[in-house]
Structure formats: structure tokens, C-alpha cells
């Protein structure tokens, strides 16, 4: 009994057989939701997060750029070649830390969600905040890097007088030189959003299931 009460103090009230009677689903739903959130995050790693198409007269098929959590795909080489004329740094120089740590961050979020399932108090919220904010954080970070690359242009570049510092939009349409850029979020990002939604929903059901138990435990502590 002592070990149980120690765990209960730190991680919140444990579920006894009595509590299950008639309320089985209350305790099952948050677990399932958190599992689905973890699954969605893991799947998102394998899917593209963001895509940009560049259109110009001399590229009849356009140029494509696809960002995954940990690497870039598409016409990276050709875009880098074009960018060197205006003094823009290479694409793979952008967000290199974020991409190197990308998969580890996702794994970390998955593990945190896992642990949140074990925590039956309001501190579960703290553990899932990274996962909740991940999609928005991704876009904010992306826009920052687009801004950074578009503004730190090498003044010694050949076309430096033709092209002034610019910001390609992370979502939607932009123009740079003779290029039209069209950017959009892709499947991976949507999976990350779905994961956040599952986490938010899980928190609601989590509170519904464990708040009564928590209150009971507080009363018992105060009383005993």
C-alpha cells in the first residue's frame, strides 16, 4: 500500500477495480486517443510536411521542393543553382538543426504523450504541450527560415542589384524575379495537426475520467 500511495502522490490516483464499475469507457477513451495521437505523429514523419512549386517561363514543368521532418526532396540542386545568382544560401543550410533533430523531437513527443497517459493529474497537460504546439511551431519556424534566407543575400552576387531582399510566404503565392512560388502544407503536417487534436480531445476525456478520482484522493488525504 505504501508504494501505491507514493505513486499516487506523484502521478495521480490509480484506478482501482471499483472505479471501473460502470465507468470503464471513461478510462479507456483517453488511452485510445493518446495512442492514436502517437500513431499519427509517427506516421507523419514518413510523409511530406510542406511543398513549394516554383513556376517560370523556362521551366515548363515547374520546379518542386518538398520538405520532410528531416530532409528536403525535389529540385533542390536546381533551386540552389538558381539561388546562387541572387546570393541566397543553399536550401540545406536552412533549419539544419531542426532537421537533424526532427525525428528525435517527434520521438520525444511520442514518449512524452506515452508518459502523459500514466499521469492522472493536471500535470499531464505539461507533458503534451510540445505535441499540441508542434504543427504551429513548424510553420512559424519555416516562415522564419524563409525570411532569413530571403534577407541574408550575398551583396557580391551577380544579380544582387536586380533582386532585393524578399520573403517567400510559407503558405500561398509569392513572386521572386521571374518565379512564382506556391507553397502549401502537406499530408505530414496534417497528420501532426490530427495528432494535436487527438491530444486535446484526450485531455478533455482525461479530466472527465480522473478529476473525480483526484478529488476523492484529496478528500481522503485531508481527512486521513
Amino acid at each position: 500500500m505504501t508504494s501505491v500511495s507514493f505513486i499516487s502522490n506523484i502521478l495521480g490516483p490509480r484506478v482501482s477495480s471499483n472505479d471501473l464499475l460502470g465507468r470503464r469507457m471513461h478510462f479507456v477513451i483517453p488511452t485510445i486517443m493518446l495512442s492514436l495521437a502517437r500513431l499519427a505523429l509517427i506516421i507523419s514523419v514518413f510523409l511530406p510536411y510542406w511543398h513549394m512549386t516554383l513556376e517560370a517561363p523556362q521551366y515548363p514543368n515547374g520546379l518542386e521542393l518538398t520538405a520532410y521532418v528531416n530532409h528536403l526532396e525535389g529540385d533542390v540542386r536546381e533551386i540552389d543553382g538558381l539561388n546562387h545568382y541572387i546570393g541566397m544560401r543553399k536550401l540545406n543550410d536552412a533549419a539544419s538543426l531542426e532537421r537533424a533533430l526532427g525525428v528525435w523531437m517527434v520521438i520525444a513527443m511520442v514518449v512524452l504523450i506515452e508518459m502523459a497517459g500514466l499521469v492522472h493529474t493536471k500535470w499531464a497537460l505539461l507533458l503534451v504541450i510540445p505535441a499540441l504546439l508542434f504543427p504551429v511551431g513548424f510553420l512559424v519556424d519555416l516562415q522564419f527560415w524563409l525570411y532569413s534566407h530571403g534577407h541574408n543575400l550575398d551583396p557580391a552576387a551577380p544579380l544582387s542589384s536586380s533582386v532585393k531582399p524578399f520573403v517567400p510566404p510559407a503558405l500561398g503565392v509569392g513572386t521572386i524575379g521571374q518565379f512564382r512560388t506556391i507553397a502549401s502544407a502537406e499530408a505530414g503536417w496534417y497528420f501532426a495537426c490530427v495528432s494535436s487534436l487527438f491530444v486535446a480531445a484526450a485531455l478533455f476525456f482525461h479530466r472527465r475520467a480522473f478529476k473525480p478520482l483526484f478529488d476523492k484522493m484529496q478528500i481522503a488525504k485531508a481527512g486521513g
Binding site: 484506478v15 477495480s17 471501473l20 470503464r24 469507457m25 478510462f27 479507456v28 488511452t31 485510445i32 495512442s35 502517437r38 500513431l39 509517427i42 514523419v45 514518413f46 515548363p60 514543368n61 515547374g62 518542386e64 520532410y68 528531416n70 530532409h71 540542386r77 536546381e78 543553382g81 545568382y85 525525428v103 517527434v106 520521438i107 511520442v110 514518449v111 506515452e114 497517459g117 500514466l118 551577380p158 544579380l159
Partner: protein, 725 residues
């Protein structure tokens, strides 16, 4: 027990499934809570599996990616195809505009239809690709049909700087065709042959012969470049080159002007004794994309001036047919008051159709029944007779073309000096050989089959029949040089059911301008011709085009053969302003699969593989070893790396350049002014050239193929330090 792990997926599922707490349930739960289930219950596997899977995802981009050519499926739209749009409806305004245009430009409705049948809107590709020989330009031409637009030339026997052939790179191939003591830097290209599989074009290789010097070239259709030239070691002239057997086991080269074998000497009086004709069977190794000289052999033929050959197919698979036009053994001598060749070769009513059994010839070669001339195996006439390899059949009067019908059942010989085409039945030929129906032998002992035993039909077409092509409706098309026309006539046998007319009959003649030589129908010498288009390859244009001085272009005329019967209109006149194209091969464009960039950076087009020495990005350097200097250079928009190369006068320079490009059409040139060097570097290509820096001074090098906005800045300096005096 399972309830204890309610926080895990396993526990939650368990709680959902098992309700209540009976004895049976408890036992079940216990059984489930086995060690494996325990592990699973902890929920650890999810991040563990995710971790291990993610590791492969992390690892992949960390490897240096192999720069592959982009797969076709990634392209958003299929290049060259028409956009899908709803049916076109002309408005009254459209009609009025067309009417006015026709009146202003004096065009008839037929003219406008002809224009509509050939015009391609910008970005739309042609349906057929024609590979035309470039005659004595020594090149091939690639032309789109029906637009008749010249897409490019392919340099074969003649150096060509735009393609970077023969000015630094490509010299190895050109040297393969030299004879000892003589560089040969032009060729008279006549009859191209596309490689075939089961008698149909497969779009992989192209072969072409050089009449002037008896040579053969192999062109790889992955990058449209000449990869090999072979010089025929036994003779100095060919004409029937090239023709392929149905699976391209052999590329056939038939000789023309007889000479003593192996470059020996003999006078005109010794003609019958010492001069010989030949047909050479060049073995083609498809895997290597090269002719295998060691497996090739020739047949000694009488000096009858062989003309053209064609390989049998389907019903006549295993036989090849060739004609000749100097069975008179005329030796000319107009300066000696003898009949000139033009008269001497036309004395007899009949020359000889050559019928050769390929299998038996191959067997004789493999059995060693040959003599070596200049180290090359030649099967002598005695063996050809004894092993029943060669037979003759009479053919009227200095004939020209010999063309096998698509089903292989008939051979059409065009009369040239006789107004008929003579059609031989290959089954009758085989029967006559088996029944030994030869009434006589020629002066060399070769059996001559009875004409009536092998002839199927003779069709009178007009004056000067030369060459025959076929379509998919049972028609044959023969060029009439003197009539300056194309004759459409009907085939018989199993073709009779395809057309409404009587078999073996002339249907119609369309005049062409002027003096047609060869003609070429879409896939017209395969087992399944497409019909649709026919090109009349006219030798003289005379007044068809604006005169460009005394030397005028040839005229390729496109004819529409889609409609049967008498309707066979000329659609378009296309001038060919280089060389004198003879024959061509027309293949459906979708059978060709050319690369648009080389598969990987550092690709050696000659070996069609990665060049291990090719410098990649970051590997540029200049290595000096006494008088040997090796330059490792890369090229990318818009600079060469290095931009300064310094050597000493007299150094032997080996120069490697790799194009680091991966984009379609991002080709760079490279020239060193003053050293006669010019290269063409297609995306990914690795090139190597060698020369002696024998002139001191400063020589700029620059990009000769417009590549980018900073193309003019893509340059460097090659400095040759003078030797200390």
C-alpha cells in the same frame, strides 16, 4: 490483472473486451498476461518501433544521394502531347478568316488541308521520327514527321563541332574508321537501319554504312551518338549497308564496286580473275552495343557490283537477298574506246538476284571453312556452292531495290532499266532450292534458279523503278526515277483481302518533284508497317525552293497514304540543305526512349557507364608529374572550376571535365581557342581529351553553348609558359 495496465493500449483494449470478473475470464486474462503480452502492455514498443523505423529515414538522406535521372512519373504533364480539350467548332468568323487567308495567299482547300495535316502547335511533338542518311555529309538527320522539322543531325563519319565530335572528344571513334596511313574524315552515308527485335523496330540502335570507304557505324539511341566505326578490311566500297536480320544478330554490309580483296593490286584485264564483290555479316553484340569483329565474317561474291540487300523475315527468316547490276563484268574504259560503264553494265537482259542462306553461312564460318584476308574470315565461292549457301535467280536488267514484304513471303526487285517490278515468292525459292531447279550456273559455278520457278508476278509501273516500301493496307509503293513519281500498286497472296483492287496491279501514280530516289513509309520495312506517311526522297529540287547559288538542296516530300485507292496527295516539301540523303528509317516516336540527361554525374558516353576518374564537385585539381599534366575540371552554371590552368610549353595535357548539371537542356560547351578544341558537355557527362601544349601563350577557354544569364562570364584562361631558351 489487465486492469492494472489500463494506461496502455493493450490494457485499454483488454478492458473494453473483457467485462466482469468471472473465474473463466480471470484465467483467460492470466493466459494473456504472458511475458510477451506484458512487454506489449507496457506500451514501450510504439516508440521503439518508431525509433528503429525513423532511423532508416534519418540514415537515408545522410548517404550521399546518387543523382538519378528524374523518373517519368514525377513529371506533371507528359511533354509533347496535346492538351485534352473539347471538340473544336469553327465559328462563322473563323470560316471568314480562313476564306480571306486562302484568297490572300492563293491557297486551295487542298493546300489548307495539307497544311493542317502537317502543322504542329508549339510544344507538340511529332508522331514519327525519321532517321535520314546525310549522304556525303557523313552525318545522319533526325526529322519529325509529319511536321518535317529537322530536330538535329548526328555526326557519324565527319567531325562536327556543335556535338563536340572530333575536336577533342570523339576522335577515338573516328580513328577506328581510318586506314593505315590515311585519316578518313568524311563518309558517303546511304542506308540507315534501325535495330529490330522479331522484325519490328525496337528503338535501341541505328546502323549506317559509308559507301566511299566501306565502313559501318553504330549509333546508340539512348543519347543519339556514334559509338563505333568499323572499317571493312577486305574491300573499299559498299552500298547495301546497312540492313539488319530480324533480331539484329547480324548487320549486313553489301559491297558495290568490286576490287581485289585486301587492297591488293590488279589491272582491268584481270577483272574476272582478281576482282571480287562481297557481303559482310557483322555480328552485333546488343549487350555491349557494339559490333563484335571477332564473330563477323564475309562471303566472297563474283564482281557483279552488288547493289542492295534485305533480310528475309517471318516466312523467309534465315535468308537474305541482294541484287547486282554488272553481271556483264564490264570494265568500262570510255577513254580506250570501250563502252562506258553506263552502257557496259546494261548489256544483258538479266542480272542476278543473290539468295543467301544465313544459317548455312554461319555454320560454315563456325566450322572454320574460310580463308583470311587481312585477318578477316572470308568464305570462298567454292564453299558457298558446296555448302549451298548462295544461289542466283535471274532479275531483269540492272535492277535496283530489293525489298522483302512485311510477311516475308515476297521479294520485290525494282527494274531500274526495266519498267517492271519483279516479285519473287520466297516459298517458291525455297522449293526450287530444295528441288534443285537450277537450269544453269554462272561463270563462277554458282547455281542459277529457273526464273519461272521462283517468279510470282511482274507489275509494270513506269520508267526507272528503284525502291519499294509497304503499308498496312496491302499496298506497295515504288519510286519511279525517270517518271519522277511514286507508284502505288497492290500486293497479292494474303494481302489481296486488305485492299479492294486486283492483286499485282498498278493503282495510281503521284508525281513528285523531282527525280525520286528512295522512299520511306512509316515503319515500312518491318513486319508491321503503319502506313499513314510516305516520304519521297527526291534527288533534284530544281525550282521548288529559292535558289541558293548553283548548289541546291534535296527535296523530301511528304505524301499522305492514309487514304486508299487513287488518293495519295503530296502534303509538304521539305528542303534538306546538307548532303544528299538517300534512305531513311521512320519509327513511331513512342518506341524511342532517349535520355534527357545522363543517368549520373560523371557518365562516360563512350562506355555508357560512370567514369571512375571523372571529377565531381570538390574534386577539382591540376596534377603535375614532370611533363605530364592532368586537369580535373567541373562545369556548372555559370563557371568552370578551375578558371586558371597553367602548364609549360611541351607538356602532355590530359584534361577531364565533368558537367555537374541535372536539368534538361543545360548543356555547356568548352573550347580552347587556338588549340582546335571544342566539346559539348550534356548534363552529367564526363569528357576527357588529350593534347600537347606545343604553343606558348595565353589561350582563353569559354563555354560555347549558351547556358545561362552569365554565359559570357563562364570562361577561364589556359596559360602555356614558354620553355626557357
Amino acid at each position: 490483472m489487465a486492469d492494472k495496465f489500463l494506461d496502455t493500449p493493450h490494457g485499454a483494449l483488454n478492458a473494453l473486451i473483457y467485462r466482469g470478473n468471472t473465474m473463466k475470464n480471470r484465467q483467460l486474462k492470466f493466459a494473456l498476461a504472458s511475458p510477451l503480452a506484458f512487454l506489449f502492455a507496457v506500451g514501450a514498443p510504439i516508440p521503439v518501433i518508431g525509433f528503429s523505423l525513423a532511423r532508416s529515414v534519418i540514415a537515408a538522406p545522410l548517404q550521399a544521394p546518387v543523382e538519378q535521372a528524374p523518373p517519368e512519373s514525377k513529371k506533371k504533364k507528359k511533354i509533347g502531347a496535346a492538351k485534352e480539350e473539347k471538340a473544336v467548332e469553327f465559328t462563322p468568323a473563323n470560316f471568314a478568316e480562313i476564306q480571306k487567308l486562302a484568297n490572300d495567299r492563293k491557297l486551295t482547300p487542298d493546300d489548307l488541308l495539307a497544311a493542317a495535316k502537317t502543322y504542329q502547335p508549339s510544344g507538340r511533338h511529332d508522331e514519327y521520327i525519321m532517321f535520314a542518311s546525310g549522304g556525303h555529309s557523313g552525318q545522319m538527320f533526325v526529322i519529325g514527321v509529319p511536321s518535317m522539322r529537322l530536330l538535329r543531325s548526328i555526326a557519324v563519319f565527319t567531325p562536327e563541332p556543335w556535338q563536340g565530335y572530333g575536336y577533342g572528344v570523339g576522335e577515338d571513334v573516328l580513328k577506328e574508321g581510318d586506314i593505315p596511313g590515311q585519316e578518313l574524315r568524311w563518309g558517303d552515308t546511304h542506308h540507315p537501319a534501325l535495330s529490330e527485335t522479331k522484325g519490328d523496330y525496337d528503338g535501341e540502335f541505328l546502323f549506317i554504312g559509308d559507301k566511299a570507304n566501306a565502313r559501318l557505324a553504330v549509333i546508340d539511341l539512348r543519347d543519339f551518338e556514334t559509338k563505333q566505326i568499323v572499317k571493312n578490311p577486305i574491300t573499299m566500297s559498299d552500298h547495301g549497308a546497312a540492313f539488319v536480320t530480324p533480331n539484329t544478330d547480324y548487320v549486313i554490309e553489301g559491297g558495290q564496286y568490286a576490287v581485289p580483296f585486301g587492297n591488293a593490286y590488279a589491272t582491268a584485264e584481270e577483272y574476272q580473275k582478281a576482282y571480287r564483290g562481297m557481303v559482310t555479316f557483322w555480328k552485333f553484340d546488343r549487350a555491349k552495343g557494339r559490333i563484335d569483329i571477332s564473330q563477323s565474317f564475309a562471303l566472297e561474291l563474283p564482281p557483279y557490283w552488288q547493289d542492295l540487300f534485305d533480310a528475309g523475315k517471318l516466312a523467309s527468316d534465315g535468308l537474305i537477298f541482294g541484287n547486282c547490276f554488272n553481271s556483264e563484268l564490264a570494265t568500262g574504259g570510255i577513254e580506250l574506246n570501250k563502252p562506258p560503264f553506263e552502257a557496259g553494265t546494261a548489256q544483258r537482259d538479266m542480272d542476278y538476284l543473290h539468295i543467301i542462306d544465313t544459317k548455312k553461312a554461319e555454320a560454315a564460318f563456325k566450322a572454320g571453312k574460310f580463308e583470311k584476308v587481312n585477318g578477316f574470315p572470308v568464305i570462298k565461292i567454292e564453299t558457298l556452292i558446296a555448302d549451298q549457301i548462295l544461289f542466283f535467280a535471274p532479275e531483269p536488267k540492272s535492277p535496283h531495290g530489293v525489298d522483302v514484304t512485311p510477311n516475308g513471303q515476297y521479294v520485290v526487285v525494282a527494274g531500274k532499266l526495266d519498267p517492271h517490278v519483279t516479285v519473287y515468292s520466297t516459298s517458291k525459292i525455297k522449293a526450287a532450292i530444295a528441288d534443285k531447279k537450277f537450269s544453269s550456273k554462272d561463270s563462277y559455278g554458282i547455281p542459277i534458279l529457273d526464273f519461272d520457278a521462283v517468279m510470282e508476278a511482274q507489275v509494270e509501273l513506269g520508267l526507272g523503278p528503284l525502291h519499294t516500301q509497304f503499308d498496312d493496307k496491302g499496298y506497295a509503293y515504288t519510286s519511279l526515277f525517270l517518271d519522277s513519281a511514286v507508284a502505288r500498286w497492290t500486293l497479292g497472296g494474303e494481302y489481296s483481302s486488305l485492299h479492294p483492287e486486283q492483286p499485282w496491279k498498278l493503282v495510281t501514280k503521284t508525281p513528285v518533284q523531282y527525280n525520286i530516289g528512295h522512299l520511306c513509309a512509316a515503319e515500312g520495312d518491318t513486319v508491321s508497317p503503319d502506313g499513314k506517311y510516305l516520304i519521297a526522297m527526291n534527288k533534284w529540287a530544281i525550282d521548288r525552293f529559292f535558289p541558293t547559288g548553283p548548289l541546291l538542296a534535296q527535296n523530301f516530300q511528304l505524301l499522305d497514304i492514309m487514304q486508299g485507292g487513287a488518293a495519295m496527295p503530296v502534303l509538304y516539301d521539305s528542303p534538306i540543305g546538307v548532303g544528299e540523303p538517300h534512305y531513311c528509317q521512320m519509327i513511331k516516336a513512342d518506341k524511342l526512349h532517349p535520355w534527357t540527361i545522363y543517368p549520373e554525374i560523371g557518365w562516360d558516353p563512350q562506355k555508357q557507364a560512370i567514369d571512375p576518374l571523372a571529377p565531381k564537385a570538390g574534386q577539382e585539381k591540376v596534377v603535375r608529374n614532370g611533363k605530364e599534366v592532368e586537369v580535373f575540371m567541373t562545369a556548372v552554371r555559370s563557371h568552370y572550376f578551375p578558371e586558371n590552368v597553367e602548364v609549360n610549353e611541351g607538356d602532355n595535357v590530359t584534361w577531364h571535365i565533368t558537367s555537374l548539371e541535372r536539368t534538361m537542356d543545360a548543356t555547356h560547351g568548352f573550347c580552347i581557342g587556338g588549340y582546335n578544341i571544342n566539346l559539348s558537355l550534356e548534363p552529367g557527362e564526363a569528357a576527357t581529351f588529350r593534347f600537347v601544349a606545343n604553343k606558348a601563350g595565353v589561350y582563353p577557354y569559354y563555354c560555347t553553348e549558351f547556358c545561362s544569364a552569365l554565359h559570357l562570364e563562364m570562361a577561364g584562361y589556359f596559360r602555356v609558359k614558354p620553355a626557357a631558351k
